[in-house]
Symmetry: D2
Subunit: 239 residues, 4 copies
């Protein structure tokens, strides 16, 4: 009869229940909410970093009439993502009481009840609010491509050192020598004394194995972006 | 190429990775270990209760030569299940650091590394040990059916009150009246003054709607056990 | 000026604050609430055990008119202590988000705000409720000394085995021999075959070192209770 | 006798113990370690932020011969503080099992033992290591005052807007008007179009209430640093 009713209602019977549904199901549910909340936090940390004054590659939308900080009119704090960062802490903290709920006495005391009456609504409503808020943040995110380019350029081309290192070894230079070659050209750039590509071109030992055009190609940012469409397609579909 | 190599090795590519595999995967893994550990704890609590001196329906196997408590030779504590109860606390406690690991800076700092170097081995080895220990406990569990029967009988038949209540209402007695009828016969039994079945048979208002044979049938323990084979079959297979 | 105002108001200045009070103070506060809640849980576990049908040494007060289980009129579950057991899980779960709040960015982001808006009221109100409820449980606890005595006697005097063991060794018997002597008299008692004191008196090797009066004194429960007044006095005052 | 021995050994007797020391003491100890670890994390987050390429106000010491990233020779990641960030997650995660240990059955089961055997050494050794590591980080921290100044100047003086706002209101301008005056001069600066002090001096409505010297004084960084010696003295002593 259980199977019949469950089938009619599109439900699956609990294979072994006691007087109550075993609480491992609930624990798994709240643990999953905790992981989802932590994934949201990952996005909030990214936005908060990008919105730092010194970085400023993106920022939360700030409506024209919206007041900034009460004291500093120009100031735009990442208030929404800071808020969601805190909400993630709350939701994952609720996974623990849910796990403690599993070991009921004789599989049916009611100590889980007070826990579920609080975390049931709190974890779901809080995560729902956080998801809605982050959707809004991403939808309206203000992105500054020029600042991204400026930050990338800030290091005089050093961000391409890994590819140069690899190209040198592929051209037959030993790993140790390649590392030394890259390092002796990278260090002046790091100190703000020169451009990495120019220095590499001018280094006779580098020039002996890598032609100027080859070096220039290694400094092409497009290399790192070539799979973006593929990745978007496999995550969001071809649509 | 990624797809080709992954297919050869029976792996699935990570759809969106950064310099590191996103840590939500690891968080989900450790959260699941925490839920599994909590399920084990549920079994330990059951065995520990059954092994209480006053209950003694089952106990952990105690080898003939094995010493009991150092001070009390007769004493057999549920040492294995108490041990696993503690291990469950440890394993689920490791789910939280794993969730905190998800929000890496720019999706690639290495703060997760020190966490995973500890909880990676600790959570898996501890849970593996706990699973092996509990398998041994269940395999060798000493069960005392006579004590189970004695504990069931201890209440003079009161454990069947719910079925009597239901039978009365199905026989046309109102819910309120049925409750009062059951209560007035149950209370003396609870105080140790009489046998529930005998009192019910002797109560004219009960006797008016339920015949002695009907009452006796309501006191049949078999009623509660009739689905046991079905439940075992659907969990462990027909085998 | 800070010191002057703080002194006037009976406050102590924060020695190093940033734009906000450092959150380690709040973390310590919520961690302490978690420990207090866990202490309450310790009391709830004790009451729940004592209220087991098979033990029944104490139970939560059950008002005369109060209904028991909706289905089983005689049944009195420890509903208040089961409730507080769950509340303890909730309160200690809130210590973790409070600890995560300490590491604010540049010591002043506002991610702690959403956390504190929830756990501030929730942890304090929940713990306050739990404290009030447990005070009521303890105030009105129904204690059954006769059942305590019955449970102590259930083991035929075995609970005194540790003192016998000690007395034997103090009388010059080696630890190994004393253990063997106690064990060979304890085991039949454990199997329900005899009274521990009688068996010890009748054992020639025991009788050779401990006189009947000495053995009887070892079975005096008063020995274990002699410090009770001292303990109460040092905890609650001489009052 | 307990008091006598304890006094001789410089110990304090446990006022109410059962067969074991109540585990609330241990829980408080591990909770405190969790808070201390979180305080360390607060320092690590600060250093990690300061070491960002775009900020670079301070960085972990990097020995001359020390290799940077294996792939990028110039790259200096805050590896020590990222490591300690993770260790803080571990240590605070151990506070929860310690709190769950408090509610032992009849105040003396041994489920706490397996927990304490792991978190006893793990929490203390991990925190000790983290403390030693952070002491080294702070001792050898490389600080870049010129970069601090550069970052402060980056906003064209906007960091002083709060003091200007306050000075305007103290000079009799209404809060709303003061806010509008500050905002209309701050916004061009924020867009990179001008210097805040120059614009304020040139604004007739501002100039009407604040003289040039007064404005200049409001842009004095020394104002924010004037209590530093007092704070150091009250934290570390006059020494």
């Amino acid at each position: 009869m259980e199977e019949h009713v469950a089938a009619k209602m599109g439900l699956v019977p609990e294979p072994v229940s006691t007087q109550v549904i075993p609480r491992d199901r609930h624990a798994m549910f709240f643990a999953t909410l905790g992981v989802v909340a932590s994934c949201l936090e990952r996005l909030t940390i990214e936005v908060r970093h990008l919105q730092r004054t010194e970085v400023l590659e993106a920022e939360e939308f700030f409506a024209p009439g919206q007041k900034g900080s009460s004291a500093m009119p120009h100031k735009r704090n990442p208030v929404l993502t800071e808020n969601v960062t805190g909400l993630a802490r709350l939701v994952r903290g609720m996974a623990l009481p849910a796990m403690e709920n599993v070991a009921l006495w004789h599989e049916r005391d009611i100590s889980h009840s007070s826990v579920e009456r609080m975390i049931g609504p709190d974890a779901t409503v809080t995560l729902d609010f956080a998801l809605a808020r982050m959707t809004g943040v991403i939808d309206k995110l203000v992105v500054y491509p020029a600042n991204m380019r400026r930050n990338l350029d800030r290091l005089g081309g050093l961000i391409h050192s890994q590819r140069v290192l690899l190209a040198l070894t592929q051209a037959g230079v030993s790993r140790e020598d390649a590392y030394a070659l890259v390092q002796r050209n990278a260090m002046p750039v790091w100190r703000g004394e020169g451009d990495f590509l120019a220095l590499l071109k001018a280094d006779p030992q580098v020039a002996a194995v890598l032609k100027p055009e080859q070096l220039e190609e290694l400094f092409d940012l497009g290399y790192h972006l070539k799979h973006i469409d593929t990745i978007f397609a496999r995550v969001f579909g071809e649509g």
